[in-house]
């Protein structure tokens, strides 16, 4: 197939592989000028990959693109920008100590007679900001401005170069209702001026309001598309999750109902509110929700990594109050964090050293930690968890799956009362994934209470006895195994 020679942005058969993962599979896309195309899909469905390809951040492995009838193969974001395609990132990347105008013109500051032409910069920035309805003095510093205004400046920064096509990647993710509406108005203003817009959002109400056309990605493939007025929110949700489950990892039902962990109205102001649940021995509780829903923040508070402001956590019926991870470890709550490199493992040190790190005080013999103790403990865990690779080399030499096993092994040198795993299988291959599911099931079968936080719906639904769904810092509900259908979880997660 060849892309259209008509005006607009057209993609035909665009695909991308990362190692063994097929991140994007032959996607077609048509974006006429002056229209809004909404792009929806679960976490990891391929939205970011598609956007990155269109914006020149990554190059596709297959497929063709045309831009207003001309072949379009951007090699870099600046080349894409040059040809009229701008990407507005989800995270705000402004420099707080520079002025609004300087941020907008960063990298191309206008110069007159050898000096920066501040007057012209302020004037032109002011025009663009006015057009977007962002009320801010272009001459003031960015530091201290609200998130909504900063997001507006990001948009101004992108459109000052007059792109014909703009990709918005979850522009409202960190904004409240009124502020988000403001962004929608800015998008409409751009569209009415003839700009073609790709709009990525998890907020389906926004999508309903603004999209001329909606397309849905799942597992890297385009699975559905609708024209304005021909779909409902439920259609979108079904398309996002509608997959057959290919495996089941569910552990046996909890043995007995002795509650190990109890949360009562646990709140961290501005981050999450009123989280309450009970967790029994041998039970696996899943935490589902979109990225940014506050799942990680809640489990970090349980594991003593962050503080919380209100509410109570009880372990074995007794209220606990700890202010550090060491306190939680004392109470028998161990957590495997999601960021393996930044928080889980010390990549420069050996696997064995990583495994013994939390336990060295308990592993001493005659007050000493010898190399033999470290090696023995490492070897025991290596055999127990089938870790492939050398224990005495830096753990960075292992594959992602084995690193993840080392991380699990590190936290299972002693038996926890409550084991929390944040994104248990991020960046690991299928074989390691199955092995990790098996480890989790075995833990539960041995009476350990487990919390699994995962952005992969399949993982949460396949592994857990119950699923707690969060959205925007709120606990939206706890679904039993029978009630936890993909559609129900997703409805709660998107706040529909």
């Amino acid at each position: 197939m060849t892309p259209s020679s008509e005006a607009g942005l057209h993609c035909r058969g665009v695909g991308k592989r990362y190692g063994g993962t097929h991140a994007l599979k032959s996607v077609d896309l048509d974006l006429p000028p002056g229209s809004v195309l909404a792009l929806v899909g679960e976490n990891g469905a391929g939205k970011s990959t598609l956007n990155s390809i269109i914006a020149g951040v990554v190059r596709p492995d297959d497929g063709e693109m045309t831009l207003d009838g001309v072949p379009y193969h951007p090699a870099s974001p600046s080349e894409a920008l040059h040809q009229g395609v701008a990407l507005i990132h989800q995270e705000i990347r402004l420099l707080p100590e520079l002025t609004v105008a300087e941020n907008i013109f960063l990298g191309r500051l206008p110069v007159a007679s050898g000096r920066i032409d501040r007057a012209r910069m302020a004037r032109e920035a002011g025009v663009v900001l006015d057009k977007l309805g962002v009320a801010v003095d272009p001459q003031r510093k960015v530091a201290g401005l609200s998130m909504a205004v900063q997001q507006g400046i990001e948009i101004a920064k992108a459109i000052i170069r007059r792109p014909r096509y703009v990709i918005f990647d979850e522009p409202t993710a960190s904004l409240g209702g009124a502020e988000a509406d403001r962004i929608l108005e800015q998008v409409r203003a751009l569209r009415d001026a003839g700009t073609g817009i790709i709009y990525v959002s998890h907020r389906l109400d926004e999508v309903m309001k603004i999209a001329d056309r909606v397309i849905c990605l799942r597992d890297g493939a385009l699975v559905a598309g609708w024209e304005r007025g021909h779909f409902t929110q439920q259609d979108i949700i079904n398309a996002m999750v509608g997959r057959e489950f290919t495996f089941e990892h569910r552990a046996p039902p909890p043995r007995g109902d002795r509650v190990v962990l109890q949360l009562d109205g646990v709140t961290r102001t501005g981050v999450f509110r009123d989280i309450s649940f009970e967790l029994a021995r041998g039970e696996i509780l899943g935490f589902a929700g979109l990225i940014g829903a506050g799942r990680t923040e809640v489990v970090r508070a349980i594991a003593g990594m962050d503080r919380f402001d209100q509410g109570e956590i009880k372990v074995d019926g007794k209220p606990v109050r700890y202010t550090s991870p060491s306190g939680a470890i004392e109470a028998g709550i161990f957590m495997v964090p999601e960021d393996r490199k930044g928080q889980g493992l010390n990549l420069g040190r050996t696997a064995a050293e990583n495994i013994t790190l939390p336990w060295e005080k308990r592993l001493t013999r005659n007050g000493m930690i010898t190399r033999a103790v470290v090696a023995e403990t490492g070897l025991r865990q290596k055999q127990r968890f089938d870790i492939r690779g050398r224990l005495d080399l830096p753990v960075s030499s292992m594959s992602g799956g084995n690193q993840q096993k080392v991380l699990l092994a590190k936290w299972l040198v002693e038996d926890p009362a409550v084991f929390i795993i944040d994104e248990p299988t991020r960046g690991v291959d299928v074989g390691a994934k199955m092995a990790i599911y098996e480890i989790i099931r075995t833990l539960a079968a041995n009476g350990i209470a487990v919390i699994v936080v995962s952005s992969e719906l399949e993982e949460v639904l396949g592994l857990c006895h119950r699923v707690l769904v969060m959205s925007k810092g709120n606990q939206r509900g706890i679904l039993s195994r029978e009630d936890a259908t993909p559609a129900r979880v997703m409805s709660l997660a998107v706040g529909a």
Partner: protein, 328 residues
């Protein structure tokens, strides 16, 4: 890197273990140690006095203060911090001891204890500023360095104090089995620190902390308390070095130790520690110390201008870091 298949028994896993250990040892030692040997050989040809027992013992005596301070500095640097105040702490601790003894007739052991305690307390202040007050260690210890050198001058109005008890000055003249006492103290400090770093959980934690502080914290280590402890050790050792200076010179100079800071950091860096934290060892630091000591001694023997000597030290630092990086 290729993955070894699962090794069935322990026997199969000891062989690569041994090899890895050899690799590890050969990785740690060569750079600095080979450098040291080269320097020793060169100077033994250049000066007939160089390889005499007397000169070698002199080298050890000359480097004992810097060497003791370097232990504290190395520990701090392994955690990813830096202590700029060690030289100034040496001066202020020594001045306090001398001042209490001369102007207040306080029994000398008590005055000495006060000096050592002051060193530890300044270390405590450094540690608290660098952790709980969240001031970058460079800035925190720059501030205490400035304050300590000021106080060292202020308490006697800038004048040195002389006339310590005879038994105190005799300490550094004392030889046990032919080895000067300060050399024995120096080596003991290194051995104790090496044992702590290698075999004690808190000592081993320094590497975890310097490698990735968040991983260490989430692993249940009390990161802040360990860090404060390391600065306390550094302060105490600087004060101990001060006492040795006082005993050796039979006087307390308010500016003593001020020029030592750069040598101390040079020793640690030549010894293979990275200022980014997470690496370094006592063996390496000791070799770094010998390199600096031998260079200074040897250059004096062959009459290299004192003004040129720091240039050679500077070159040695760069050479050490470059070869160290290649070995990794």
């Amino acid at each position: 890197m290729s993955m070894a298949p699962a090794e069935p028994g322990t026997r199969a896993s000891t062989d690569p273990g041994l090899r890895a250990r050899l690799v590890q040892i050969s990785r740690q030692v060569p750079g600095p140690l080979i450098g040291l040997i080269v320097i020793l050989v060169v100077f033994s040809f250049l000066s007939p006095y160089f390889l005499t027992t007397r000169n070698l013992l002199d080298i050890f005596s000359q480097i004992s203060e810097i060497g003791i301070m370097a232990v504290g500095s190395a520990l701090v640097i392994i955690t990813g911090g830096i202590d700029l105040s060690v030289g100034a702490v040496l001066a202020v601790s020594l001045m306090l001891t001398a001042w209490l003894y001369r102007d207040f007739q306080i029994a000398f052991p008590i005055a000495m204890f006060a000096g050592l305690l002051l060193g530890a307390l300044i270390g405590l202040l450094n540690g608290v500023l660098a952790t709980y007050a969240r001031i970058q260690p460079f800035v925190a210890t720059l501030a205490t360095m400035s304050a300590c050198s000021g106080i060292a001058l202020y308490i006697t109005n800038g004048s040195p104090v002389t006339g310590f008890p005879d038994y105190f000055t005799a300490l550094t003249a004392l030889h046990i089995a032919g080895i000067p006492l300060q050399t024995i103290i120096l080596v003991s400090v290194y051995l104790i620190a090496a044992f702590w770093l290698k075999f004690r959980p808190n000592g081993r934690a320094l590497y975890a902390l310097g490698g990735n502080e968040e991983v260490a914290r989430l692993s249940g280590l009390n990161v802040q308390r360990i860090k404060v402890g390391v600065y306390v050790i550094a302060g105490f050792l600087a004060a101990l070095a001060g006492m040795i200076v006082g005993s050796r010179l039979d006087s307390a100079q308010p500016t003593a130790g001020l020029s030592d800071l750069l040598s101390v950091i040079a020793v640690v860096v030549i010894g293979g520690a990275s200022l980014a934290g997470g690496s370094g060892s006592m063996l390496g630091t000791f070799i770094g110390l010998l390199i600096i000591g031998v260079l200074q001694n040897g250059m004096s023997l062959i009459d290299v201008s004192p003004n040129l000597q720091p240039v050679v030290i500077g070159a040695a630092i760069i050479l050490a870091v470059l070869t160290d990086r290649r070995a990794r």
